[in-house]
Structure formats: structure tokens, C-alpha cells
């Protein structure tokens, strides 16, 4: 027994040692920043203490017995058994404790369900492997992917994850919400089941394909709150975090305004250098393509085709654009990728040394636009930048000729 005690002491010391060395982990649930999360936290602490109390009573009795009622101490066994009174008592007392727990729990279930009378609604769609946010009131709509630093770090073994700030808990575009505003969330999914969890908000909710779930929150104080997908959703399930930034109402309004302007702005059609196309192409690739085609462009045998040396990738560029925009049964259709991103991506996948391709061409944003798209942007083709009228685009030559 003495040895056991020593071992236990060692363990406790080890734990404390770790505790002083790293201060940034937590042992318990966090209180969170909403009324609901506080309610859930209090409930958690209540049950935890009830369990600790019962545990001390039961284990205390058991260990008293283990230490004293042993043969080596010459204790003689009593032969009692079956005592109806005792058995009734140890059935009734737990029942009463359960009732005491059920009352606040019921209240919390009801509070969590109060999604009505919200001030705004955000639709969250889980996709393999990122989140898609749509602000139903303002029309703002964007995707939120794992940030590039984490994306690279977990795919390239030479990068130390510890050097990446908020490794795996950071995104390229966080969800921004106003504080002290009742927000109703709608959850759904495009492919498989996902689950949206930010611990500081106090709950998680599954996003089921073909169905809509709802939940609500009202964040008490501004801040950055991080979470992750919590329903296994395939190979990159561990790599689709959630970041919620809560800000004061005025700041939030300004943010929405700026984002809407960006969302409605024309794609940048200016001429880019080859280097900047490749650089931008890499980030577009890491955001949209890397999950399946992998960082070396080799794909995954049996699952996803490689891009390195693929005839489709290195062949006719217009067919390739059409293919990427149309998608396949396995690949999503990248119809909404803005022209500048599309052009950079094409340049990157055809020429990036990391992917092992070397076609030797480059594509400017204007030349990634189809005739219809160009006409949507410039009803009068003469207003289009000179670059767009250049010879790179065969179809465009025809347009210019017709207009003339």
C-alpha cells in the first residue's frame, strides 16, 4: 500500500509540474460568454459536485472496509445479507437526487429551445471540409476555411505546429456577429453530417444534409471564440475549425457594409505578374483543392485523382476551366470562383513546381471570363480594360469584331 501511495504522490506531482509549465490549457468546462453557456456551466458544476460527493461517500465506505475488514488484520466475516430497509433507502435517496438535478436541467432544455424572436438569422452549411455562412438578413455570404498557416503546417512535416498561432483553430474568414443581439442559427449540410460547436456559446448542433436544425445565442462580450466540427465527417474532419468574432453593434454594422461592398465588387481584372498569379494561386489551391488533390498534387490513390502530369490539367486551358466550373459527381462545381482567383488557380496548377507541372503559360483574370460573364460586367465591351481585348482570348476577338 505504501508503494501505491508513493506512486500516487508521483502522479500528483507530475500533474502539478505540467500545470506550472504550461498555463494555457484548461481542466474544466469554460463558463463561456452567453446566458446559455453560463446556465450549462452551472448545471455541469452542480452534477459534478453531486458525483464527487457520492463518490467520496461510496469510495470512502469501500476503502474503509478494504483497509479494516481484511483477513490479514484478523477480521472475521459477518454473514448478514438482505436488508429491505437499507435497500429502500439506497433506492429512494438517489431518486431524490435525480429529481433535484432534473429541475434545473429541464429549465435549461427549455431555454436552449427558445429560438423565436431573434434579431437576426445566420444560415450555417457544413461541407467537406469547411463551413459556409449566409447572413439571411443582409445577404452576406462566404465560406470559412482552415487558415493557410495551419493548412500548410499539418500537411508539411517540416513545419512545427507549435510555431503556428492558433494551430488548427484559425480560419481565413471568421464568422462575425454583434454582441447582445439574439442570433438564430440555421444548420444544414451539403454532403455528410457535420456538427457546429463553439464551447463558449454553450452548445453544439448537428448539421444534417437535407434538414434544417436551429439554435440561438446572444453573446455577452466582444471577443474571439473558437471551436471545431464535432461530428466525424471524413478525412479532414479535424481540419474545419470555427472562429466567431463578436463585436459591438456599430463596429459590426461597419463590417457588414464593408464586406457587402467587397462581395459585390467586380473581380480584379488588372494584369498580374506571373509571380503574383502563382502566389495567389497557391492560396486558392490550399483553400479549395488541397483537401482532395493534396499538397504535392498527387491526390490519393483510390480516392482522388492526382493533378501532377494529368492530361486534363496540362491540356487545353478552356476545357480545364469548363471542367472546374462544372464539377463532377465527386468534385464540387467551382462556378462562383471569381475570375481573378480562377485565373491564378489555373496558372498555379499548370505551373507550380510543388505540383510537378510545367506548362509554361499564365492566365490573366480577364481571360478566365467567358463571353457571357464579360458582357455581364461590361455591357459595352469598349469599356473593358485593354487587357481583356487582347489576343489571349480567342472568343473575345470574335466579340470585338462583332461589336465593331
Amino acid at each position: 500500500m505504501k508503494k501505491t501511495k508513493q506512486l500516487l504522490a508521483c502522479l500528483v506531482l507530475m500533474t502539478l509540474g505540467l500545470g506550472t509549465a504550461h498555463a494555457d490549457y484548461t481542466l474544466n468546462l469554460m463558463r463561456g460568454v452567453t446566458q446559455l453557456s453560463n446556465e450549462v456551466y452551472d448545471l455541469h458544476m452542480l452534477i459534478l459536485w453531486i458525483c464527487v460527493f457520492i463518490g467520496i461517500a461510496v469510495f470512502g465506505t469501500m476503502f474503509y472496509s478494504i483497509f479494516h475488514h481484511r483477513k490479514s488484520k484478523g477480521h472475521k466475516a459477518a454473514q448478514f445479507h438482505e436488508n429491505t430497509t437499507v435497500e429502500i433507502i439506497w433506492t429512494i435517496i438517489p431518486t431524490l437526487i435525480l429529481v433535484a438535478m432534473a429541475i434545473p436541467a429541464t429549465k435549461a432544455v427549455i431555454d436552449l429551445d427558445k429560438v423565436q424572436d431573434s434579431d437576426m438569422t445566420i444560415k450555417v452549411t457544413g461541407k467537406q471540409w469547411y463551413w459556409d455562412y449566409e447572413y439571411l438578413d443582409s445577404g452576406l455570404h462566404f465560406e470559412s476555411h482552415l487558415d493557410l498557416a495551419s493548412e500548410k503546417a499539418h500537411r508539411v512535416s517540416s513545419i512545427d505546429p507549435r510555431s503556428v498561432p492558433n494551430y488548427l483553430l484559425n480560419v481565413d474568414k471568421p464568422l462575425v456577429v454583434p454582441v447582445k443581439t439574439k442570433i438564430r442559427f440555421l444548420f444544414t449540410a451539403a454532403d455528410v453530417i457535420h456538427s457546429w460547436w463553439v464551447p463558449d456559446l454553450g452548445w453544439k448542433k448537428d448539421a444534417n444534409p437535407g434538414f434544417v436544425n436551429d439554435a440561438w445565442t446572444s453573446v455577452d462580450k466582444p471577443g474571439v471564440y473558437r471551436g471545431q466540427c464535432t461530428e466525424l465527417c471524413g478525412r479532414d474532419h479535424g481540419f474545419m475549425p470555427i472562429v466567431v468574432i463578436a463585436m459591438e453593434k456599430e463596429q459590426y454594422d461597419a463590417w457588414v457594409k464593408a464586406e457587402l461592398e467587397k462581395q459585390n465588387a467586380l473581380p480584379d481584372l488588372s494584369k498580374q505578374t506571373r509571380a503574383s498569379l502563382l502566389l495567389k494561386g497557391e492560396s486558392v489551391y490550399l483553400t479549395n483543392c488541397v483537401a482532395c488533390h493534396q499538397i504535392d498534387g498527387k491526390g490519393i490513390s483510390g480516392w482522388y485523382p492526382g493533378l501532377s502530369g494529368s492530361a486534363k490539367v496540362t491540356g487545353d486551358i478552356h476545357q480545364l476551366i469548363g471542367f472546374v466550373q462544372a464539377g463532377t459527381s465527386k468534385m464540387p462545381a467551382f462556378k462562383k470562383l471569381p475570375a481573378d482567383q480562377l485565373a491564378a488557380l489555373m496558372t498555379y496548377i499548370r505551373n507550380a513546381p510543388e505540383l510537378g507541372n510545367k506548362v509554361g503559360d499564365e492566365l490573366q483574370a480577364c481571360h478566365a471570363l467567358s463571353l457571357d460573364e464579360l458582357e455581364d460586367i461590361f455591357p459595352d465591351i469598349d469599356n473593358a480594360p485593354e487587357l481583356c481585348k487582347e489576343n489571349g482570348e480567342v472568343k473575345l476577338d470574335k466579340v470585338v469584331a462583332e461589336k465593331n
Binding site: 474544466n28 448545471l43 452534477i47 472496509s65 472475521k76 448478514f80 438517489p94 466525424l232 478525412r235 474532419h237
Partner: protein, 537 residues
């Protein structure tokens, strides 16, 4: 009663026979002891196969970053680890114990349906091999979690139909085993062995067998729907065709919740058998143990959606499943209080089976506490699908079911082999296991509460320390189980000496198996024993 060894030619005589010679003995055997041994050995091998997968998982999680395996393979490992441990290790181990012990405990010569007994074992082997084969198929083994949730599981490569057929075979094997247990208990008890005189291990297995018959067809149905959704254009779980992916979860957990009790009820039975022997005192409340087991089994059918609190249940559903789940604490509490009261004022000695049983009571109760915490739906909104639940169910499976399986091994090995195991190494095995299992699983509570989701191959830096501690515990735990293999082999080869018929002090008061010689002869109770009314075990 003495061992009857057949000494005649190859033609098998069905009246007077010992074991067949050579490998055929094992392939065609209908002897409950041989089949029990095969189940136990098979389960032990699968325990190490599943354990190796767990160590692959814990190696990858030792440090942040992806070091050893591809995320898809990691997901296959979590999926296969669970399937192998549940269907290949824990369930077969208890079937093995049932085979060996139920006939001997009720004074029957063999199981009621010996040929089906043989078939259910070989069906199990075929099923598990088919499952293992999926690891080498194009697209890899199933990687959608052992729950096989659609639509994700439908993205499995070539392995999906094989995994589904494997589940069918495992289900048929379990159902045959369960029918056999029920038929044996209802028809083959020795005269005077009334139901309320049966050892609790027999009682808990009787109830478990009914659970199995009720649930395995449900699981088979659920996976068959997956099969037709994938290959025959049905839309049971596809919203676009009018189905619902959540329907699968309801069906699965209607199977799944009783299924986890299939792994724990026989555990209760063994603990209730071992503790009185080493406390030298009758079990405190035999009847209340039987009723509590039945109550838990009943409740297991009406609480399934507590696995699905976050799936978007209507509020009435949330409340009902929360209340119903909380109720489980009552009969479970009765059991824990009963074991404690049995030890109280006993005359305890601490041989290895008792050590494992006491650790079971303590650590299972911890798993019970976290279970109670998760029954509270709003709190489960935080705990669900995090490492908190990983800690919870591993506490109810490893230091509970697996510890009791180890306790059973130590308790009955002398009866099976006729030799005593080495008590010193047994205790070493216990202390290494009991300490390392807590280093392994206790920090996972912290990880879950701090926000680490389950089933992820890589994690944020703030989870690094406890993951490392947990992985260290995993390796100590995993490797210390090799001691058990050593002890089993050593005991078969002679151990520390011959065992008496009774093995443990006054054990014959506690069960019929201790009235036959050690090792137990190939055929026992060919004429039924006389049951003398004694204290309950």
C-alpha cells in the same frame, strides 16, 4: 467424476468420447469447454489486434501535427479499433466464459445446442476475418466510425459491402450464441437449481442473451438499408429521395445502447460472483441484483436517443430521453451499493481476481458518474462527441469489462488448467494495469471539457500535454497486458503448482464449478449434481 478419455479408433463413438486428436479436435468440436477455450483465445488475440490499432491512434496523438498516418487511415483505425474490440474481443470473451462456465454453474453436461455452438464460433471467426480483410481493400477499411453513420459511411470505398456482410455474420453468430445460452439455462439446470438459485453470472448472461436476440436483427436491418441505399438506389437515409440520415441513428442506437449493456451485464455477473468469495461473505442482495440487472436491461431499450441529443430532437424528445436516462442511475447505484455492502465487514483477501474486481467497482462507478453527467441533455450539448465521452465509455469498457475479463481469467484459470498462476506476476499485472489505465483515460476528461473533439488525428496546441500523458499511459497499459499472455502460458505449462478442486477458500459454497476436479474433466455433470440449498453466491 473422473475424466473419461476415449481410447478407440478413428470412428467416432457418440457416447463415450474424449477430445478428438490434433487440429480436428478444435475444428469439429462440440464440447462446451473446447469451444469456450477457442472463444477466449480468439478474444485475447483480437484484444491485441484492437489494442495495436489503439496504439497507432495514441502514437499519432502523442504530439500535435501529423507524424505517422494519413487522416483517412486514422479514421479507419478509430473505426476498426472499436469494431474489433466490441465484436472481436469483449463480446466473444464473454461468450467464451458463458460456454465454459454456464453448464458447470448450473450442473449441465454441455450447452443445449452443441453443434450450433461450434457453428457460431466459426461464423464469428469468418466475420471478423472478413472485417479485417477490408483493411487491404481499395479505398481502405470503413472510416466513418463504428456507428457507421450515413451519409459518411456510404463514401467508403470497395470495403462497404464486405463490412456489412461481416456485420451480418457477426450478428448471426451472436444470435446463435444467445439462443444457445437461453436454451441451456431454461432446459438443462440440475434438479433443484431454481432460477433464483442460479449464480448471478448465469442470470446476467440470461438477460444479456435476450438483449442480443432483440437487437442484433435491428443492427442487421440498419446495415442492410445502408447496403440498398448504396447499391440498389433506395433512399432510406437520403433526404433527396425522401429519407432521413437521422433515421439511421435512431435504428442504430436502438441496437447500440442495449449493445453496450451486452458488454457490461455479464461483467456485473462476474463481479457479483468473485467479490463474495474473497470477502468470505454472501452477496448482500442477491434478489435485488437480479432485479436491478433486469431493470437496467429494460431501460436500455428506451433511452437510445441520449446518444443523439445534438441531432435536433424535438424538446419533448430531449426531455423524455433525459429523464429516462437518468433513471438508469438508480438500478446501477443499487449494484454498486450492493458490492460495497458485500465487502463491508467481510474477511477480505486480495488475490488478483479480487484486485481486478475492486478496481472494476471503483472505476466503473467513475464511468457511471460521467454517464450521469451526460444524461443531462443541456450539459451533453457541451460533452457530446468530445474526449469527455471517449473517457466515459472507455472507463465503462476497459477498467470495467476488460478488468473483469482479466479477473475471470485469474479466477477460473486454475479450474481450467488445473494449475495455479503466479500470484506475484498477477498482482504486478494488476497494479500496472490499474495505474496506467488511469493515466491513459483520466486526462481525456480534461481534454474533452477543454474542447477537444473526438476522432481527430491532429489537435490544437493547448491539448498537447494531456494527449502526451494519455499516450504514455496507453503504451504502459498496452504492453503490460503481455504479462497476462505470459501468465496464461505459464499456468498452462504448470504454473506454480497443482490447483485443488476448490482452488479458493470455501469456494465450493459459491458455485458448482468448484465441486469438480481441477482441471475440469472433459465432461462434467454427465449425471446432474444434487443441489443442496445453500447461501446465494
Amino acid at each position: 467424476m473422473t475424466a473419461v478419455v476415449a481410447e478407440h479408433d478413428d470412428h467416432h463413438d457418440h457416447h463415450d468420447h474424449g477430445p478428438e486428436k490434433g487440429i480436428l479436435r478444435w475444428i469439429i468440436t462440440t464440447n462446451h469447454k473446447d469451444i469456450g477455450t477457442m472463444y477466449l483465445v480468439f478474444a485475447l488475440i483480437m484484444f491485441f489486434v484492437g489494442g495495436t490499432m489503439a496504439l497507432i491512434i495514441r502514437s499519432e496523438l502523442f504530439e500535435p501535427g501529423l507524424q505517422f498516418v494519413d487522416p483517412q487511415f486514422f479514421n479507419s483505425m478509430t473505426t476498426m479499433h472499436a469494431l474489433v474490440m466490441v465484436f472481436g474481443a469483449v463480446m466473444p470473451a464473454f461468450v467464451g466464459l458463458a460456454n465454459w462456465m454456464i453448464p458447470m454453474m448450473i450442473g449441465a453436461p454441455d450447452m443445449a445446442l452443441p453443434r450450433m455452438n461450434n457453428m457460431s464460433f466459426w461464423m464469428l471467426v469468418a466475420g471478423v476475418l472478413l472485417l479485417a480483410a477490408t483493411l487491404f481493400m481499395e479505398g481502405g477499411a470503413p472510416a466513418g466510425g463504428w456507428t457507421l453513420y450515413p451519409p459518411l459511411v456510404l463514401q467508403t470505398g470497395k470495403a462497404l459491402p464486405f463490412a456489412i456482410f461481416s456485420v451480418h455474420m457477426l450478428g448471426i453468430s451472436s444470435i446463435m450464441g444467445a439462443i444457445n445460452v437461453i436454451a441451456t439455462i431454461f432446459n438443462m439446470r440440475a434438479p433443484g437449481m431454481t432460477l433464483m438459485k442460479m449464480p448471478l453470472f448465469v442470470w446476467t448472461w440470461l438477460i444479456t442473451a435476450f438483449l442480443l436476440i432483440a437487437i442484433m436483427p435491428v443492427f442487421a436491418g440498419a446495415v442492410t438499408m445502408l447496403l440498398t441505399d448504396r447499391f440498389f438506389d433506395t433512399s432510406f437515409f437520403n433526404a433527396a429521395g425522401g429519407g432521413d440520415p437521422v433515421l439511421y441513428q435512431h435504428i442504430f442506437w436502438f441496437f447500440g445502447h442495449p449493445e453496450v449493456y451486452v458488454m457490461i451485464l455479464p461483467t456485473f455477473g462476474v463481479a457479483s460472483t468473485i467479490i463474495p468469495v474473497f470477502a468470505r461473505k454472501p452477496l448482500f442482495g442477491y434478489a435485488s441484483m437480479v432485479y436491478a440487472t433486469a431493470a437496467i436491461a429494460f431501460l436500455s431499450f428506451i433511452v437510445w436517443a441520449h446518444h443523439m441529443f445534438t441531432v435536433g430532437l424535438p424538446i419533448a424528445g430531449e426531455l423524455y430521453f433525459m429523464y429516462a436516462t437518468m433513471l438508469i442511475a438508480i438500478p446501477t447505484g443499487v449494484k454498486v451499493f450492493n458490492w460495497t455492502a458485500t465487502m463491508w465487514k467481510g474477511e477480505m483477501t486480495f488475490e488478483t481476481p479480487m484486485l481486478f474486481s475492486i478496481a472494476f467497482v471503483v472505476l466503473f462507478t467513475m464511468g457511471g458518474f460521467t454517464g450521469l453527467m451526460m444524461s443531462v441533455a443541456p450539459a451533453d450539448f457541451q460533452y457530446h462527441d468530445t474526449y469527455f465521452i471517449v473517457a466515459h465509455f472507455h472507463y465503462t469498457l476497459v477498467p470495467a469489462s476488460v478488468f473483469i475479463l482479466m479477473a475471470s481469467g485469474y479466477y477460473w484459470l486454475p479450474k481450467w488448467t488445473g494449475n495455479m498462476y503466479d500470484e506475484r506476476i498477477g498482482r504486478l499485472h494488476f497494479w500496472l494495469s490499474a495505474i496506467s489505465v488511469n493515466i491513459l483515460f483520466f486526462p481525456q476528461h480534461f481534454l474533452g471539457l477543454a474542447g477537444m473533439p473526438r476522432r481527430i488525428p491532429d489537435y490544437a496546441i493547448q491539448f498537447a500535454d494531456w494527449n502526451m500523458v494519455s499516450s504514455i499511459g496507453a503504451f504502459i497499459y498496452g504492453f503490460s497486458q503481455l504479462l497476462f499472455v505470459y501468465i496464461v502460458i505459464d499456468t498452462i505449462r504448470g504454473g506454480t503448482g497443482k490447483a485443488t478442486a476448490e482452488v479458493w477458500e470455501d469456494a465450493s459454497k459459491h458455485g458448482l464449478e468448484w465441486t469438480v476436479p481441477s482441471p475440469a474433466p472433459y465432461h462434467t455433470f454427465t449425471t446432474p449434481p444434487e443441489i443442496i440449498p445453500t447461501e446465494h453466491v
